[in-house]
C-alpha cells in the first residue's frame, strides 16, 4: 500500500499567493504527447469551480494554475488531472523562476534595442555614404550624424551592458576575456564618432558599433538559450522525482513539503519503499536500507535508532522517523560537498576555448591597433584620422565572428545531444570531451541498473513466477520492486497482508501464497543451494501450498547495451577502469563479464578522487561516469563527467552532462558529438583568424570604409553560423523532445522513486 494517499501535502509551501487573494501553483506534468493534451488539460481544469486560469506550456511540459482558495483546493485539481490521465507534481517554488531565465529576458531586451537602433542608424548611414559620393550638403550630413548619435548613445549604453559589465569584472581581477576588446572598441568608436560629428567631419561610426553589439548579443543569447533549455528539462525531472520530504510538525501534523523548506533539526518521516531525501539520524523505527546509490554497496543494510542515514538511500519495509542533520557539520553530504568544491577548484584552471582564444587574440589586436595609430600619426596624417584607422582595425578583427563561433556550435551540438538522450549541464563540456582517452565507470547504477534484477528467473515455471510478481507488486520493498519490475503488464494482487520484517501473504483461489524472507516461506533448504550458486545475491523466497518454494537471487544486472558500448569504447582505443565502492567479488564478476581489465573495489570517495588525479597526472584525459553520492567528488575531479538521470542529486549537480534512459549508449553519443563539436569550433576559430589575416592588413592600410567593415563583419558571422549547423550528429535519431523526455521517466525502475 502506498501511504501517500493518506498524507496531505503542505500546499502553502508549494503555491504562491497572489495579491487578489488567489493562489498560483506550478506543476510539472507527465504524459503530454501532443497539442490535444494541452487543450484537454486546460479545459478540464477550467471547468472546475474556482479555477480562474490554467495554462499549459507545451515546450517545457509545465502547467500554471490559478485558483480561488475559497472555492477549491489543489487536491481537487490534482485529482482532476489524474482522472484526465496526467500525473502532475508540484514544483519547489524555490527554484521555479531562475536567474538564468531573468538573464535571458535581459539579453532579449538588449538584443531588441540593439536591433532597432542599428536598423535606423544604418538607414541614416547609408544615406550619408551615398550622399558623400554625390551631392549631400554639410548641414544634412551633420544633421544625420547628430540624429545617429541621438539614437546610438542611449541604445549602446543599454544594449552594451552585458559586455561592459563582464569586461569590467575580469579587468578588475587582472584577466582579459573577449568582452574587453569589444568594450574598448565600442566605447572608442562611439567617442570618436561624437568627436567627428562635433567637428562636422565626413565619417562617423555609430552603425559599426551598434552592428557589432547586435551580432555579439545574438551569440550571447544563443549561448544562454542552450543552457536554459537543458535546465528546464532537468528541473522537470527533479520535480517528477519528487524532491520532497514528509515533515513532522511540532503539533503532530504530517505534511509533504519541498526540500528547500526543510532545516536541520526538523523531524521527517520516511515511509516504506521511499527514498530518503535528507541526511539524518534515526529517531525511531528500524528497517533495511538500500545504500547502493551512496556507497555502491549492493547488499541491504540494517538501520535502527541512532544510526545515520543518507540522502539518496532507499528505505525498506518500515517507516523511519529521522532527525535532519543535513545542515550540520560532519555528515556524508558535507564531506562530499567539500570534496566536490576542492575538485571543482582544481578544474577551474581550464578555460573555455573562446576565452583562451580571446586571451591570445586580445593582446595581438590591441598591439596591432595601437601600432597602427602610432604609425599613421608619425606618418603625419593627424591624430584623428589615425584613430579612425586604429578603431577600424579593432572593430574589424575577431570579436564578432569569434563571439558567434563557439555558442552557435554549442547550441547545435546540445540539441543533437538532447535528441540522443544526453542533457548538457555545462556548455564547455563539449570542448573537454574531445580529447578524452580514458573512461572511468562506477559499477552500481552505472554499468549495472540502479535496481537489482533477478538472475535465476528462468529456473522457475512461468505461472508461479507471474503469481510471485503479482504479489510483489503489492509491496514497495526494494527487493519486491525489483521482482515486480520483471513484467509490467501484471496487475498487483488484492487482499495482501504484510507482516513487518518478514514478508507478504495472500489468499489466491484457496491457496495461501507467501513472498518474503526464506525463513518466512519455509525455504531455508532451497535458499542454501541458491546462495552457493549466487554468493553475491540478496534472496527473496516465494511459497505456494503443496509446491516446492522458489528462491529468487537478486543481483545487479548489466545495462542492456553495456557490453556493446564497452566493446566500442575499447575499439576506439580508450583505456577503461572501474572504480566501485562495492565488494571486490561483485566488481570482479562485472569486470570479467565486460572484459575490463582494470578495476578497483571497495574504495572511498577520497580514493576515487586520488585515483583519477593519479591518472590525470599520468597525462590521461579522464571521463568519469557515475551515479552515487560517493562518485560526486570524482565526477567533479574528472576532465569530463556524465551521470545517469537516476543519480543522486549531488552527483547530477557535479557532472557535466546527464544521460536519460536505460541504455549506456548515450555515453558513446556524447563522446562522438563532443568530438565533432570541438572540431567545428576549432574550424570556426580558424575561419575567424583567416578572416582577420585578410581583413587586418587592409584595415591597417586605411582602406576600410565603414560600409566594407560592416559587410565583412556580417559576412564572417554568417559563415561561422552556417558552419556550426554541421555539428548535428550524422545518425540523429529523430526523437522529438517529448519522446526522449517521457521515455526517460518511464525508464526509471519501478519503485525507484516512489512519490
Amino acid at each position: 500500500m502506498n501511504a501517500s494517499d493518506t498524507v496531505e501535502r503542505d500546499w502553502t509551501a508549494f503555491s504562491e499567493s497572489l495579491p487578489d487573494g488567489k493562489s498560483k501553483l506550478a506543476l510539472a506534468v507527465e504524459g503530454i504527447y501532443c497539442p490535444a493534451c494541452m487543450t484537454r488539460i486546460e479545459k478540464g481544469l477550467m471547468d472546475l469551480d474556482g479555477v480562474s486560469n490554467a495554462r499549459v506550456n507545451l515546450s517545457s511540459h509545465r502547467l500554471a494554475v490559478t485558483w480561488d482558495p475559497e472555492e477549491t483546493n489543489p487536491d481537487i485539481l490534482l485529482q482532476r488531472l489524474n482522472s484526465l490521465g496526467y500525473g502532475a507534481h508540484p514544483f519547489d517554488p524555490g527554484r521555479v523562476k531562475s536567474d538564468e531565465q531573468r538573464e535571458n529576458q535581459r539579453l532579449l531586451r538588449a538584443l531588441a534595442v540593439a536591433g532597432f537602433a542599428s536598423m535606423n542608424v544604418m538607414l541614416l548611414s547609408v544615406s550619408v555614404w551615398s550622399g558623400n559620393v554625390s551631392d549631400i550638403t554639410d548641414e544634412t550630413r551633420d544633421f544625420f550624424h547628430w540624429l545617429s548619435a541621438f539614437i546610438t548613445l542611449p541604445a549602446a549604453a543599454y544594449a552594451g551592458q552585458p559586455f561592459f559589465r563582464s569586461a569590467w569584472r575580469v579587468l578588475r581581477k587582472g584577466h582579459v576575456n573577449m568582452d574587453v576588446p569589444i568594450s574598448i572598441g565600442v566605447i572608442l568608436a562611439l567617442f570618436l564618432s561624437v568627436l567627428q560629428t562635433i567637428q562636422s567631419e565626413k565619417h562617423a561610426y555609430f552603425e559599426s558599433a551598434l552592428m557589432l553589439l547586435f551580432f555579439l548579443l545574438v551569440g550571447r543569447w544563443l549561448d544562454h538559450m542552450m543552457r536554459l533549455k537543458t535546465r528546464s528539462f532537468a528541473e522537470n525531472l527533479t520535480a517528477l522525482k519528487a524532491e520532497t520530504a514528509m515533515k513532522l510538525f511540532a503539533d503532530g501534523a504530517l505534511r509533504e513539503v519541498p526540500l528547500s523548506k526543510i532545516e536541520s533539526g526538523d523531524k521527517v518521516l520516511v515511509r516504506p519503499g521511499e527514498r530518503v531525501s535528507v541526511d539524518g539520524t534515526v529517531l525511531s523505527g528500524s528497517s533495511q536500507i538500500d545504500q547502493s546509490l551512496v556507497t555502491g554497496e549492493t547488499k541491504l543494510v540494517d538501520v535502527a535508532e541512532g544510526d545515520a542515514v543518507y540522502a539518496g538511500t532507499l528505505n525498506g519495509e518500515h517507516a523511519l522517523t529521522i532527525s535532519v542533520t543535513a545542515a550540520a557539520k560532519g555528515t556524508l553530504l558535507d564531506e562530499v560537498n567539500r570534496l566536490i568544491d576542492d575538485a571543482m577548484e582544481a578544474r577551474s584552471g581550464y578555460r573555455q576555448l573562446a576565452d583562451r582564444a580571446a586571451e591570445l587574440y586580445a593582446p595581438i589586436v590591441h598591439t596591432a591597433s595601437a601600432l597602427t595609430f602610432v604609425a599613421w600619426w608619425l606618418y603625419g596624417i593627424g591624430w584623428q584620422p589615425s584613430l579612425v584607422i586604429a578603431i577600424s582595425v579593432l572593430i574589424i578583427t575577431c570579436p564578432c565572428a569569434l563571439g558567434l563561433a563557439i555558442p552557435a556550435v554549442q547550441v547545435v551540438a546540445s540539441g543533437s545531444l538532447f535528441r540522443n538522450q544526453v542533457l548538457l549541464n555545462r556548455s564547455d563540456a563539449l570542448e573537454r570531451i574531445s580529447d578524452i582517452d580514458m573512461v572511468v565507470f562506477d559499477k552500481t547504477g552505472t554499468l549495472t541498473r540502479p535496481i537489482a534484477g533477478i538472475v535465476n528467473g528462468e529456473d522457475y515455471d512461468p505461472e508461479s513466477l507471474n503469481l510471485a510478481i503479482a504479489l510483489a507488486k503489492a509491496s514497495s520493498h526494494p527487493l519486491s520492486a525489483a521482482l515486480a519490475g520483471m513484467d509490467r503488464r501484471i496487475s498487483p494482487m488484492s487482499g495482501v497482508t504484510e507482516e513487518k520484517g518478514k514478508g507478504l501473504s495472500a489468499e489466491w483461489k484457496g491457496e495461501t501464497l507467501r513472498l518474503g524472507s526464506p525463513l518466512f516461506c519455509g525455504a531455508e533448504k532451497e535458499a542454501e543451494t541458491v546462495r552457493v550458486a549466487h554468493p553475491m545475491a540478496s534472496l527473496l523466497a516465494f511459497a505456494r501450498e503443496g509446491q516446492a518454494p522458489m528462491v529468487f537471487a537478486l543481483e545487479q544486472q548489466l545495462r542492456t547495451d553495456a557490453k556493446e558500448v564497452i566493446a566500442q569504447l575499447k575499439a576506439s582505443g580508450k583505456s577503461l577502469l572501474i572504480l566501485s565502492g562495492d565488494q571486490p567479488r561483485a566488481v570482479e564478476a562485472i569486470a570479467t563479464e565486460l572484459g575490463i581489465e582494470h578495476y578497483e573495489a571497495g574504495i572511498s570517495p577520497t580514493d576515487k578522487i586520488a585515483r583519477i588525479e593519479a591518472e590525470k597526472a599520468k597525462g590521461h584525459k579522464v571521463m568519469m561516469v557515475g551515479d552515487g553520492l560517493n562518485d560526486a567528488p570524482a565526477l567533479a575531479a574528472a576532465n569530463v563527467s556524465l551521470s545517469p538521470v537516476t543519480a543522486a542529486h549531488v552527483s547530477q549537480a557535479a557532472s557535466d552532462a546527464l544521460f536519460l534512459g536505460e541504455k549506456l549508449a548515450p555515453v558513446l553519443h556524447a563522446l562522438d558529438i563532443g568530438k565533432k563539436a570541438r572540431r567545428i569550433m576549432e574550424q570556426n576559430l580558424w575561419l575567424a583568424t583567416l578572416y582577420n589575416i585578410v581583413a587586418v592588413p587592409i584595415a591597417i592600410a586605411g582602406y576600410v570604409t565603414p560600409l566594407i567593415a560592416a559587410l565583412a563583419m556580417s559576412g564572417s558571422s554568417l559563415v561561422v553560423t552556417l558552419n556550426a549547423l554541421r555539428a548535428r550528429a550524422k545518425s540523429d535519431p529523430w526523437f522529438t523532445d517529448n519522446v526522449a523526455f517521457d521515455e526517460a521517466l518511464n525508464d526509471q525502475a519501478p519503485g525507484a522513486d516512489r512519490p
Binding site: P35, T39, V56, N57, L58, S59, V113, F116, N120
Partner: protein, 66 residues
Amino acid sequence: MNALLFLIPVALILGGLGLVGFLWSLKSDQYEDIQGAAYRILDDDDLSPEEQAKINAKSEPTDKKG
C-alpha cells in the same frame, strides 16, 4: 529635404512602436511557449457560444449536402 523632415520621424516612430511592441510581448511572457502557441491558433474552444453558432450555421448547409 522637406520629405526627410517627416520621413525620418515616421521611420523612427514606426521602428520605436515595433520595439515597444516586442518589449511588451516579452514582458507578458509571450515567448515562454512558442511550440504551444503554434497549436493554440487552431483551437476553436475559446469562441463565445454566439460565435460558435455563427460558424456552425455557415458550415451546416455544406455538411448536409456532403
